[in-house]
């Protein structure tokens, strides 16, 4: 199922909660992490280098973004710099990285097999806030039950600012959308904004 949500532009940031705890993208895989994030996810290189300080690939903290390869089925988590000594140990290539050496990503053999695949993406903290709106506008895959739960959890005033439109179909009201059983359905969601 594919659908579009239209929302007044100043309400877009409130929708980033849709992306937590994770969403999926279909993209080229078999490539290194940096290329994947910058070219497939469209994250600006400077942002990637400076802002994204903590990266996990399949739960392993990554230090070398050029040797860690993203595969079909990978889980990729992106975060800003974290507080505390333990927070600092997770920083990519940080001076405390040895403290969590036992779980670090050791890098992969280069593969020539670039193909399309599914990747689960988790955005945390400032990164969620800053990249979330862009991902929503770009379109991502989210479990339908979670989308319904998110909309349900929003105050009525906010729900008035949302229009749910099946992509290339007839508009349905949020209530009609919420009435469907979508618990096991993955939905491609794209958010459009309009000036209020």
């Amino acid at each position: 199922m594919e659908l579009s949500i239209a929302v007044a532009d100043d309400h877009l940031p409130k929708l980033v909660g849709l992306l937590a705890p994770w969403f999926s993208v279909r993209a080229q895989v078999g490539i290194d992490l940096k290329t994947f994030v910058c070219e497939q996810l469209g994250v600006h290189e400077v942002y990637f280098e400076e802002r994204i300080q903590t990266i996990f690939l399949d739960s392993k903290p990554v230090d070398d973004v050029a040797t860690a390869l993203v595969h079909d089925g990978s889980v990729l988590a992106l975060s800003a710099a974290m507080p505390g000594l333990v927070g600092a140990t997770f920083r990519k290539g940080g001076q405390y990285s040895w403290m969590r050496k036992a779980i670090s990503h050791g890098g992969d053999e280069k593969s020539d097999q670039a193909a399309h695949g599914w990747v689960t993406v988790k955005l945390f903290n400032m990164v969620l806030k800053e990249l979330g709106p862009g991902f929503l506008e770009q379109g991502v895959w989210i479990d339908g039950g979670r989308v319904q739960a998110f909309i349900n959890s929003q105050p009525q005033v906010f729900r008035q600012h949302i229009q749910v439109l099946p992509l290339e179909g007839l508009p349905v009201s949020p209530d009609e959308f919420l009435g469907q059983d979508l618990s096991d359905t993955s939905i491609f969601i794209k958010v459009r904004t309009f000036a209020e």
Binding site: A20, P21, A77, S79, A80, M82, P83, L85, W98, K101
Partner: protein, 578 residues
């Protein structure tokens, strides 16, 4: 801060107070003050709840000045939980106020012959100690209501709840925050039980008529403080992450790493972590009219705290910290922020360390007293602690006692103190600090700046076991030094990443004291504190055998990475070879 207040509880005819000059303790503050006094004056083999133990409360060196972030206070004694030396640290208003009243420390010693409860009032006119049995078994919130009634809304207070009166090893000491609520606690090691054993329920501090402490070199101090604040504000952790989400920003990240101890350290990832995360918490707090950004004392510019309102928008508790949310949340399989906030409020009211209580309840769940994830059962268990039922007294004496009573092997403690929210199998470097710190398992003991910055030990190769040990040592030295200044430890990463911000800190201290200060001086201070603490523990009977993690960390692999703790005992023994 040119005097020490001694409160002698065991004097004939009732408690007496004596004000002394600083003498050999001149120039010390915070942890340096508490650990030096305890190490010199407390017989290491004394009973922690007996007349020979002393409770020392000391503002940081810079407290009472306008230096940003300088309002942390240290509490020291021989710990009833660990049997070793203890320094527990808290935010809140009392550090600034006590410093402005001119006291570098309050030392409570001896023990009253009677069962009365005492209240101490300290103001510009001096010190008054009176009995007040109307406070008996009151929670901290009710105590503060009485303080407001009697002394108005400008004073601040240090108090214990029923747990301290019942001398439980998990009892904390509460410090009021900017809103005069008892939400900040010197939590660890049972310091509240020592205050209870002295018969002191409440200390009221009133600095009306006193002025801020003035620096010796006002120009240097002012400039340095400006650079200091700028440095903290521009760093992504102290200027953005902590203010926006608090320490709970760590939940998602530590969980993703597989280092989030779940269901009493039985696995490293919790399915409900996202519901407990700082991101979810900030959203919830603001949607209910609370605050996601707030300071625990005046002068904090990072503001990692917040205000947590209940579903009806009424104040419930301060924003629970990462450690609390983990201990009462994921560690007990609970994924509901409202439950965790309620448990936090109960801990604050009863006067309990949230980490110790969360871990003790986790051990109780493992023992079969309740099911992991049963929020109501956790609330009921904590109520028993507040009421002092036999089961409550077991839990209130911490995870080690609880594990022993119920025959549980998986008890995550070092020196009988519960481990905080990072599994040492996933982050082995933190395991070195848990094992070797003088305090018992403590995440803040080896928290902060690098060896290179402080010049203690040169470059460290952390990829080698001896490098891990070297760095843990250096971190512990640096932490002891910061704990002595009154600065909040969260400054650590701004000074780690920004040398000019570290320089600003040195300039603040030297601008304040009028004495030159180098990085070496700071590390020497930290080293002296650790040596005094190690020396106390050695005389109290601690040996290398106590610097170990529980055996199961070496045997039970932790999912999802299936790793065990690998640092050898020989390497652990090298941490304190200076």
């Amino acid at each position: 801060m040119d005097k020490i207040l001694r409160v002698k509880m065991g004097e004939e005819g009732g408690p007496k107070t004596v004000v002394e000059a600083l003498g050999e303790y001149a120039g010390l503050g915070g942890r340096a003050m508490t650990s030096t006094i305890v190490s010199k004056e407390v017989p290491p083999l004394c009973h922690p709840l007996g007349e020979d133990n002393k409770l020392v409360i000391a503002p940081g060196m810079l407290s009472g000045s306008v230096a940003a972030m300088s309002g942390r206070i240290s509490v020291g004694c021989k710990s009833p939980l660990t049997g070793g030396i203890k320094e527990a640290n808290s935010g809140g208003q009392p550090s600034q106020v006590l410093a402005r009243l001119g006291y570098a420390a309050i030392v409570i010693e001896g023990q009253p012959a009677d069962d009365n409860l005492y209240k101490i009032l300290i103001n510009k006119d001096g010190v008054e100690i009176t009995t007040d049995n109307s406070l008996k078994m009151l929670g901290n919130y009710a105590v503060i209501d009485k303080v407001k009634e009697a002394y108005g809304d400008k004073v601040c207070a240090i108090s214990i709840g029923p747990a301290g009166e019942m001398k439980m090893s998990a009892a904390s000491i509460a410090f009021t925050d900017m809103e005069q609520r008892p939400t900040r606690h010197a939590g660890r090691g049972g310091v509240g039980a020592v205050m209870g054993s002295k018969g002191v329920k409440l200390i009221v501090l009133d600095d009306e008529g006193m002025s801020k402490r003035q620096p010796a070199d006002p120009d240097k101090f002012r400039e340095a403080n400006k650079a200091w604040v700028q440095g903290l504000k521009k760093h992504p952790v102290t200027g953005e992450g902590l203010p926006a989400y608090g320490t709970n920003v760590l939940t998602n990240v530590v969980n993703e790493a597989g280092g989030y101890p779940t269901n009493n350290f039985s696995t490293g990832q919790f399915d409900g972590a996202s519901k407990l995360s700082g991101e979810t918490q900030a959203e919830l707090e603001t949607s209910r009219g609370g605050l996601a950004t707030h300071g625990c004392h005046k002068g904090c510019v990072i503001q990692c705290s917040g205000i947590f309102n209940d579903k009806d928008g009424n104040f419930l508790t301060k924003q629970p910290e990462y450690e609390t949310i983990w201990a009462h949340g994921g560690n007990c399989g609970i994924d509901d922020l409202d439950t965790v906030a309620q448990l936090d409020r109960m801990d604050d009211d009863f006067g309990l360390d949230t980490i110790e209580m969360g871990v003790a309840i986790g051990v109780a769940m493992e023992a079969g007293l309740a099911k992991f994830g049963d929020a109501q059962a956790a609330i009921n268990l904590l109520k028993e602690v507040g009421e002092g039922t036999p089961l409550g007294r077991i839990l209130g004496n911490g995870a080690a006692v609880t594990g022993q009573v119920f025959g549980v092997e998986r008890v995550p403690v070092v020196k009988k103190q519960s481990m905080p929210a990072y599994d040492p199998r996933a982050v082995q470097g933190i395991g070195v600090t848990y094992a070797t710190t003088t305090m018992g398992a403590d995440h803040t003991a080896g928290y902060s700046v690098t060896a290179n910055l402080l010049g203690v030990g040169g470059n460290v190769d952390g990829t080698k076991p001896e490098g891990q040990v070297e760095l843990s040592k250096n971190l512990q030295i640096a932490t002891a030094a910061i704990d002595s200044t009154g600065m909040c430890l969260f400054i650590a990463f701004a000074i780690l990443d920004q040398p000019e911000t570290f320089q600003a800190l040195l300039d603040i201290i030297s601008g304040f004291s009028g004495q030159p200060l180098t990085a070496d001086d700071v590390s020497n201070l930290g080293m002296a504190v650790l040596k005094a603490e190690r020396d106390f523990n050695a005389r109290a009977g601690f040996t290398a055998k106590d610097d170990r993690l529980p055996e199961y960390f070496k045997k039970e692999p932790l999912a999802p990475h299936n790793v065990t703790f690998q640092v050898s005992d020989e390497d652990l023994d090298k941490v304190f070879d200076f």
